[in-house]
Symmetry: C2
Subunit: 153 residues, 2 copies
């Protein structure tokens, strides 16, 4: 339970509602992302995430990207259109199955992926003003359990 502060409102039943606290915490992390990655590199959150997945896994079909990022097909198409127009990714057709593609990082895309991965380090460090390193790790572990995934590799 959060400490009482007479200048702030009582959360009432909201105090035990996980979704509310996640939404509030997201305000902090989104702001931090914007300052460290979003504005400097002109990337949205989902674009950054997509570049990180390609950097870590190599070329991937849109289907797997959509599943991992919880995007619908049409929205991923538009996202890839933008990234391709910026010269960060390319669509490659699969010669074995004409329906499917592989999304590959261009050289420019790889550079920006590596640069933003580096920028994410001080981004996380900024959160350590509020959380100890152990708390940061514990929070990620609990969020993974809530999301229904195993602790990340």
């Amino acid at each position: 339970m959060p400490p009482k502060d007479p200048s702030s409102l009582s959360l009432g039943p909201l105090s035990g509602v996980m979704g509310y606290h996640i939404a509030q915490a997201a305000v902090t992390t989104f702001g931090t992302f914007e300052r460290h990655v979003g504005k400097p590199f002109g990337l949205r959150k989902v674009e950054f995430s997509l570049l990180m997945l390609l950097l870590a896994n190599g070329p991937l079909p849109p289907k797997r990207l959509a599943l991992t990022l919880t995007l619908t097909g049409p929205n991923l198409t538009l996202l890839l259109d933008r990234l391709q127009e910026r010269g960060l990714v390319n669509r490659e057709r699969n010669p074995a199955d004409g329906r499917s593609q592989n999304i590959v990082l261009t050289e420019k895309g790889r550079r920006i992926a590596q640069d933003t991965a580096a920028a994410a380090v001080p981004m996380e460090s900024e959160l350590l003003d509020r959380l100890s390193r152990a708390e940061h790790a514990m929070l990620i572990e609990l969020l993974c359990k809530l999301a229904g995934r195993r602790t990340p590799l």
Copy 2:
């Protein structure tokens, strides 16, 4: 359809990025909210939160609601328009200062606030499939630290 490989993709640099894990966990809590409160009562997340704040604190000026819920003024106006049109809240002018208002729950609004507060209990219980009670409490505590809102009056 056979279950797809659950081990899925490597998150790479994303594995230590708090914002990513918060976004993923939000998928879970949002789905749970929709099933327990959103669809049954026809309320959006922010509408539910607003009703909870009014239930716990009594009449409040829009300014304080906007600050607590991280809403801009114009968006709160539209939100209050909808709730007022449904007969859940009323705007009361402050006789001492004609500029300011108080938002008050109607009797119908109080009933739905109490009913949704009750529905939030099984909603949180559903999360206990994934988190122990202690983990649930710990997660909320850590999220509060991360949100770190020194309430700006």
